[in-house]
């Protein structure tokens, strides 16, 4: 049990990193999905290329590029800041694709109705379509968030003191290379279960407010 108290120190960092990156991605995904659906071919193409690159390069490679590449030459970055930027950028791309799926789920009639009521395109997007897209995107975003929680363990490689960081630390200090990692595994599983449960609840509540 003495291992558990050390390994559990990292839980708050894992949660903080996951939530910060998710927030970054939830906001960053909005301009990306709008650009992805732009009327200008050049904007559309650039957004698409950006999304493909962000998703096609492993998160560890992004963290290295930001932490060692940008962080040592251009501007100084803490490992936490580099991790949030890295995971945040990758999340923006995934969230943009999730929003895109959400947009197709909104009935075309709503665009037409807003148009008939004399609402501008921007006003329709902000007040009518946007809020509904956010709601229908929740299940996919939750699945992504649970994946992100586990992927965030990669940040330990650049020195972020999260759950697995403390497990490796404990195993080096005590020489026990099995039990601390098993505790870490248990903690990650324990963190994902309430997440899945909470999102099912939230989804059921918010889904009621989407027009069919």
């Amino acid at each position: 049990m003495e291992h558990l108290s050390v390994v559990a120190q990292g839980v708050s960092m894992t949660l903080l990193l996951t939530l910060s990156s998710l927030l970054f991605g939830a906001i960053g995904g909005i301009p990306l999905v709008l650009a992805r659906r732009s009327r200008l071919a050049l904007v559309r193409f650039t957004a698409r290329a950006l999304i493909e690159l962000l998703r096609g390069i492993p998160p560890l490679a992004w963290l290295f590029i930001i932490y060692f590449g940008v962080g040592t030459g251009v501007i100084e970055l803490s490992s936490f800041a580099a991790a949030v930027i890295g995971f945040g950028l990758v999340s923006s791309a995934y969230m943009a694709e999730i929003y895109r799926g959400g947009l197709t789920a909104i009935h075309d009639g709503q665009w037409e109705a807003s148009d008939a009521l004399g609402l501008s395109h921007a006003a329709t997007l902000v007040t009518i379509i946007g809020p509904q897209v956010l709601r229908v995107s929740i299940p996919a975003a939750a699945t992504f968030a649970i994946g992100l929680l586990k992927d965030s363990s990669v940040a330990s490689v650049i020195g972020v003191q999260d759950t697995i960081y403390w497990a490796s630390h404990e195993s080096t200090v005590t020489g026990d290379a099995i039990v601390p990692f098993l505790w870490a595994a248990g903690l990650y599983v324990a963190m994902t279960i309430p997440c899945a449960w909470a999102t099912r609840l939230l989804d059921a509540k918010l889904r009621k407010r989407v027009a069919r």
Binding site: G56, I57, F64, G69, S156, S171
Partner: protein, 217 residues
């Protein structure tokens, strides 16, 4: 211009690393996919014990980060008397995660096979094993191919984690060149682009296959 000079100079070294990453992906899939099929069949078994054990393995495998499994296999198993090389440890650890995830994909595919076909096979007097082998599995796998291809791309990306156990794959090659030359930005960017060079065409291929298979149903 130094950016491009670096790229020309160090491309061959990184190419070797990319080869190791691809090898690791292949071995992981060769072990993980059959194991995933076994888990998928076991999770749908009539025997309760088999079913519970299989679902337990799947949930633990999907709930635990691949990095934790990797560290456990590489650093943990030697203390239990099993010393593995970094390549073997990495392929076994990633194969475990792969098996857990692909079993769910395969289970979805197997369930998508119309139950009427299974009933028809029963009516024709086929044995249960034969029904699985000749009716359910071939069609189930076919349905599961596009998501499996998508997962294979994630496995390729996940091989970068083997950096942490000192395996000479693409990421560790790039990092070690970076730490010698201090040209982190250019080398790491090149490494990132080399990953993208594989993953982006592969995901277009997977979209194409999905489109083609959907046409025939």
């Amino acid at each position: 211009m130094t950016f491009f000079n670096d790229w020309v100079d160090y491309f061959p070294d990184l190419l070797g690393g990319l080869g190791v990453s691809l090898q690791l992906t292949l071995v992981t899939l060769l072990i993980g996919l059959p194991a995933g099929l076994v888990l998928a069949l076991a999770a749908g078994s009539k025997k309760r014990v088999v079913r519970v054990v299989a679902i337990g393995v799947i949930e633990v495998g999907r709930g635990t980060p691949a990095l934790v499994v990797l560290q456990l296999f590489y650093f943990g198993l030697p203390t239990a008397g099993m010393t593995l090389t970094s390549f073997v440890a990495a392929s076994l650890a990633l194969a475990f995660t792969t098996a857990a995830y692909t079993s769910e994909i395969l289970r979805g595919g197997l369930q998508a096979v119309p139950s009427g076909e299974v009933e028809a096979a029963h009516a024709l007097g086929m044995a249960r094993g034969d029904i699985l082998r000749f009716v359910v599995i071939p069609q189930g796998i076919r349905i599961a191919i596009p998501p499996l291809m998508g997962f294979a791309i994630m496995v390729f990306q996940a091989t970068s984690l083997a950096y942490t156990i000192a395996m000479p794959e693409l990421m560790s090659q790039a990092y070690s060149i970076g730490s010698i030359t201090f040209r982190y930005l250019s080398i790491l960017t090149l490494a990132g682009l080399m990953y993208a060079l594989i993953t982006i065409p592969a995901s277009s291929l997977s979209n194409f296959v999905e489109y083609r298979l959907a046409r025939h149903r």
